[in-house]
Symmetry: C2
Subunit: 423 residues, 2 copies
């Protein structure tokens, strides 16, 4: 099955928008064992779209067209799809009603130009979009099946998983099942994990298991996938390899599959009937913001205090501190825990002066954890990189240190992003 | 001058690497008035590269090929360039010496496979790479001039600016200039702004002015472009249209060009020698986190307090409040201002119960601003959408309400993302 991704729109062509839709789609398709063989990007103009559709239909079995389904005059996907398929456009009454209700639910009239979004090529297969006014559709052009999808990231992501991928799997005939297993780790670089796991693909018995990595600093995703016809057989085939990965990466594994560092922290605290408060500066508030995003009902996460620097944070916590230090972090963790009445307090302090710029330098990070039984953990670190990496790495390390403490794991494993002489 | 960007490599094709080289190159080329008309992405395989080179040479005057110049066997650019140009590969002695000195300077021997990086198609124009071992080169294939460039971001960036762009400008003969003007707004949907501005392109005198939109909820970017030879003429041509846009969108415009909502809020407070503290819940801490990201030295933004709900926020501020309300928001704004000793306090409260799910439902947002002269503004709103949109819209509205208040604008303009019966 040869798949082409055809991205349309002046914003993407001109580089104004970084094409993350492309990378998301290609990655997801690879995870189900489908290969993207070609990527094309063209602007909102008829001549280019015509040529791109023609060329894609000649080299691919499936073409996913992204963008161009909006209500404005520069959105040309339906029109050009109809032209390429040699059919006219017809109104999809039920989708028009859907758009009208969408506006009505928001107390507004549908603007007249949105009607265009319900005009589909004759004979096209309708593809639902439960979260927007641009529906998708599929139609044959030449020998290829074309799937037309909206450019809004959350709309294409949902449509790809719920609508397009099942159709592609069905087309590929072999009722193929795919099993994907993901491990999320923090602290080991991609080349190191690649080295640590270089023999595992060869250990598969009874069929192929593929290993892949996706680094999104500060986390690394290690992915295993296998294809077959029987889901149980896939589980059996992959289980011994999963175990090896768990053994080798050990405490560096933050979470598996859809679990996250945050959800693991929350579950560990919850199982203890505990609660959490966070004090931080130099982090853009990311430690608290990540926890509250994972715990919107605030069963566990109770309060975040974000200061501009050590002075403003200390005064918010009724402390007298002049300088960030490991001991200052411990004092902040304890103070925010006491003031909020929680069982745990976390402090992440990243003082200014991480002036390495993009890709260079290093930055001091002070992390501390307090528990209401009087236990304290301090974990200072010198993280390599410019400001952004120090900030992201420091916040990740803070939450990870808490996870390790909660799960009874060692909290001061040396990480790859840390300077050797770090204290 | 028609330019195509041809990105090669399995990492980019499979989506593992997000293609920021593409967007960087396309943006830089647009800034010099050169139009990218096509983007192609193919993997490291001969058949695809052959077809991609042939198709690109048929539709473009200039093709920039990115990637495939490395020392390993899957780097095929030189080989395929020579094949497509119908010539052999010859050793560039001076580049080989350069690679050898590069390794020598690092106290190492050049690995034998790096010799491959000095093999260029016969007759190719050498293009220097002062920061890596992959040199660039240019050669004609069909009617197009092909520039081959390395995939390492800082290498291609430098080579593009210092080597490729001067050659393209020389080829194009003319000195075309581009002017881009951007307006950032909040509160008006893309179709409404499209409708409000549908006649402006036609008002241009003395040359074309193009209008475009980019929605990234909750903000909308309205862009005007024009091309010509004289920068002053472009400014004169666009000025009346910019004025019309400013008049029509009025207080909905948050910022222009590289300014942002946050920078405008900061500048307005700073010009008053003021300072700011923020109290919030239901926002994931995004109000404080956006402000501190824009004001990393905390000249203006002094403290953020993030609660889990009204009770935890109130107790952090020494208030007695049982329920989120407009009055409760005003009390929180005042309390966080007094406790921090700032001139302004902002509260953004988003109570639970926004259960519409993705794309559906609506959510109550309470926004309040306090000033230390006793002034208070309350701006409750019922924002349409699921949790994520309510949260992003509520935070944006909170910061925007502060901007409007600081700039003496009306703070309760009805917005498109708000329910009609909103109170």
């Amino acid at each position: 099955m040869r798949i082409e991704i055809l991205c349309t729109g002046d914003e993407v062509l001109s580089g104004k928008t970084i094409n993350t839709n492309y990378s998301h789609m290609a990655r997801r398709l690879q995870e189900i064992g489908a290969d993207v063989i070609w990527g094309t990007t063209v602007g909102d103009d008829r001549k280019s779209l015509r040529a791109a559709f023609q060329q894609a239909s000649a080299r691919a079995d499936v073409v996913i067209v992204n963008g161009g389904l909006g209500p404005t005059v520069d959105d040309l996907s339906q029109e050009m799809a109809a032209e390429a398929a040699g059919v006219g456009l017809v109104l999809n009454e039920s989708w028009l009603e859907n758009i009208q209700s969408f506006y009505k639910a928001r107390g507004r009239e549908m603007p007249p130009n949105n009607r265009k979004q319900a005009m589909l090529p004759e004979g096209a297969e309708f593809i639902d979009n439960p979260v927007g006014t641009a529906c998708g559709f599929a139609i044959d052009i030449g020998n290829a099946r074309f799937f037309f999808t909206p450019g809004v990231p959350r709309e294409i992501r949902l449509m790809l998983d719920d609508q397009i991928i099942p159709r592609i799997l069905q087309m590929s005939g072999t009722q193929a099942k795919v099993r994907l297993k993901r491990f999320h780790s923090f602290g080991l670089g991609e080349s190191r994990v690649d080295e640590m796991l270089k023999d595992v693909e060869a250990m598969a018995i009874g069929g192929e298991v593929k290993l892949g990595f996706q680094a999104h600093y500060p986390e690394l995703e290690t992915k295993l996938f296998a294809r077959g016809t029987d889901p149980d057989e896939l589980i059996r085939r992959m289980a011994p390899i999963e175990k090896i990965i768990r053994d080798r990466l050990g405490p560096f594994i933050l979470a598996e599959d859809d679990e996250t560092l945050e959800s693991n922290v929350l579950n560990s605290i919850k199982s203890d009937n505990g609660t959490l408060a966070i004090a931080e500066f130099g982090t853009n508030g990311a430690a608290a913001s990540r926890m509250v995003a994972a715990d919107p009902d605030c069963f566990v996460f109770r309060r975040g205090v974000l200061g501009g620097d050590i002075n403003s944070l200390a005064s918010a916590l009724d402390l007298k501190l002049n300088e960030a230090s490991s001991a200052a972090a411990a004092a902040c963790a304890e103070a925010v825990m006491r003031a909020t009445g929680t069982t745990y307090g976390l402090a992440v302090l990243i003082p200014k002066g991480n002036e390495g710029g993009i890709g260079g330098g290093e930055g001091q990070v002070y992390i501390a954890i307090a528990k209401n039984d009087g236990t304290k953990i301090e974990r200072p670190a010198l993280i390599v990189g410019g400001k952004e990496r120090v900030r992201a790495g420091g916040v990740e390390m803070g939450l990870d240190c808490l996870r390790r403490a909660l799960q009874g794991l060692v909290t001061d494993d040396r990480i790859d992003f840390e300077k050797k002489d770090s204290v």
